[in-house]
Symmetry: none
Subunit: 414 residues, 2 copies
């Protein structure tokens, strides 16, 4: 079944405020086999709201409206739903009493307009909200001959989420055909996006019952496979089948079959080989160390990193000979190798990683433009250095360079 | 004028991915007096996309479609706009040549499907995208007798945002009526959020013609003051008046009066004092170095950092005596001080910063729980150490700790 999540509130149309409830709801909906086909954000204008609800009725079966249930003049969700469906709003006596009781508990005098929270759409039932004064509403109706489910739930996250879990999900489970969802996330590093698509699209497009999403960011490609079936085994089997084919196609570009991050995989291989890693970073400025140490327990395999911006620090902390820097320049294959070897020997790590480059925006030359990066990986047998050219601003170049460096370490360990 | 922002991409209908470009675009649109009336998120299905575009045409004047311009089969925004408006798509010869030239520059063979990025909607013009292969498109058209503006721009933030600034905004400015906007951003570090609000709300709520937004994240508070008037001087004057009062209230918590980041301010003060900084990080794992080196030109004042996870590295790279670690533990005020002093002396920096702590989730004890962090700042006169306790997960603790460390360096330099 297809759903639409509608966030109601003018504040969410400003530059500084964003709906996040929908991510939570999406996860819960997906789990019971309901997909989210649209998300809409609309302000507190009844005309706009009515139009949005009308569109949603035309394109989805389940409509979840978040927000606009409070006591103020701007809270118009109840009115808009009633108007769209030509249903009446009726003030509910028990709910009025409940609002009075609530106000008494908190020893506050309740303004008259608070009572609009007791207005129930004809045919709807209230959904209890233990964390706020506005109850939700649950409405099953028919529109143009189709059965429609409409939920009105409060906007504040601490009201919205528990109410959805406790009141909406159990009711939804009784209505939505039982579906089982299987999911797999594959990740690959440093494969060009267009190349990935050329390789993968012919495969995943033949699996029309598995939804494949591809996300690419700075040398990282994430494929999410999602399959929903009445039969759990069948859903899992289809995801497995597709995953196996994609894994074959991605070959050694793929680093993760279960959604782990590249830094987690590098640490996993280090642990497996009982190996340790130390890093000497210049252009990435600590980004590699930061990524690795973001993983709990990284200290078991990661000895540390030196961020050696100045030539003096390259020599003092990674034993790069000053004359090597003079001869080849700080950004060179030779200095990358010396960084990798130096930090490895100095720390006694199994593997040394060295990286130097021009992140920009300044510092580029004709022979060594902004984006040029040298990366070296060293063990006690040999040191391999790689030249790369990355595009984009300072941050992008640093992200690509750290991704490439981690991937080279992964390949070394494979 | 009313606009709608449409984010295209099935990945944004999953539980783990969210559109953030629209916040950036909203800010820029608001500045020139264009309100955002609706935001819609739709997946990569042409039928859904066509419906969404049709709805947008019926309710807004300006439509911005983000995403779905790439080379893959899922990229259908061009096709959907053309279909909705019954316009033809035509492969543009100069754009085909540009794609080939681009591929040649990067020495990659271009798959045939890449050429769909050269398909131009009848009546549209291309918008140059210097950061990616897919150009945007700008289309002025008439729909049901009304003038409509449609922009197709790429989805990846580093392509979307510069393209919108450089290609869309100048064109929009020629069309929408002129308004004057004054803005100031103040930033403060390490002031508790509730204290900030108690201090500031009585001030900014009296300026009803200035919109004040407060954003708080891991020890960083950002206040944005926005005033829109027909008269430019008046708008600026009102923002100035409010800013002055807020600056007084924030006192030395405030580090930036013009929106600079904390790392930019630290580098600014270092430059002003002709001082240099070196860092020895344990629990922050390179995050401090990474933040500082994200600023172009940081190499002038930042010598480097050592990420010393193991005790051996603390001794080898920051001269921390092994018996000091034994006596007080690696996470202690004494070791933080030794890290700061050691790295300062070893590098010859004016200031040394040392940080050690327990980022979690493991490693906490009764006397030193997860979130305990020691930070020390050292110059040639003395070394000051500080104990802090931060809440949250591993990443939050690291973010708070790096923010606190940078703020202590700022205060030392003030």
């Amino acid at each position: 079944m297809k759903s639409e999540i509608i966030a109601v509130g003018s504040e969410m149309l400003t530059p500084h405020r964003q709906d996040t409830n929908s991510l939570y709801l999406t996860e819960k909906l997906n789990e019971i086999g309901v997909t989210v086909a649209f998300k809409t954000i609309v302000g507190d204008r009844k005309r706009d709201l009515v139009g949005v609800i009308r569109n949603a009725l035309a394109r989805t079966d389940i409509i979840i409206l978040m927000g606009g249930l409070g006591p103020t003049e701007d809270d118009l969700t109840r009115e808009a739903v009633a108007e769209t469906l030509s249903l009446k709003l009726k003030r509910d006596a028990p709910q009025v009493a409940a609002l009075h009781a609530r106000a008494a508990t908190w020893r506050i005098t309740m303004p008259e307009n608070n009572l609009k929270q007791a207005d129930l759409i004809e045919g709807a039932t209230f959904l209890t909200n233990p964390n706020g004064s506005a109850p939700g509403q649950w409405l099953e109706t028919t529109h143009s001959g189709y059965r429609k489910l409409i939920m009105l739930i409060p906007g504040p996250p601490h009201e919205c989420r528990p109410l959805f879990d406790e009141e909406c999900l159990p009711r939804l489970r009784e209505i939505v055909p039982v579906r089982h969802l299987a999911r797999r996330t594959l990740k690959a590093a440093m494969i060009p996006e267009s190349q990935a698509d050329k390789l993968l699209a012919p495969i995943y497009t033949t699996f029309t019952d598995v939804e494949t999403t591809i996300l690419a960011h700075a040398g990282d490609i994430q494929l999410t496979l999602l399959c929903s079936k009445p039969n759990k085994e069948l859903a899992e089997q289809r995801v497995e089948e597709l995953a196996t084919k994609l894994e074959e196609a991605l070959d050694d570009w793929m680093y993760s079959a279960e959604g782990e991050s590249l830094e987690q995989i590098v640490l996993y291989y280090l642990g497996l080989r009982q190996a340790t890693l130390a890093v000497a970073e210049s252009c990435t400025g600590g980004m590699i160390a930061q990524r690795i140490t973001s993983v709990p327990g990284s200290s078991r395999s990661f000895l540390g990193s030196v961020v050696v911006y100045s030539n003096e620090m390259k020599s003092a902390f990674a034993d790069v000979p000053a004359n090597l820097i003079e001869r080849h320049g700080a950004v060179s294959s030779e200095v990358a190798s010396a960084l990798a070897e130096g930090i490895r020997k100095k720390t006694g790590a199994t593997l040394g990683l060295g990286i130097t480059g021009i992140a920009g925006p300044g510092g580029g030359t004709e022979t060594k433009p902004v984006g040029r990066v040298y990366i070296a990986v060293s063990d006690d047998q040999k040191t391999d250095a790689f030249e790369r050219n990355f595009r984009g601003d300072r941050n992008r170049v640093r992200e690509w360079a750290s991704q490439q460096a981690l991937d080279l370490v992964r390949r070394k360990l494979m």
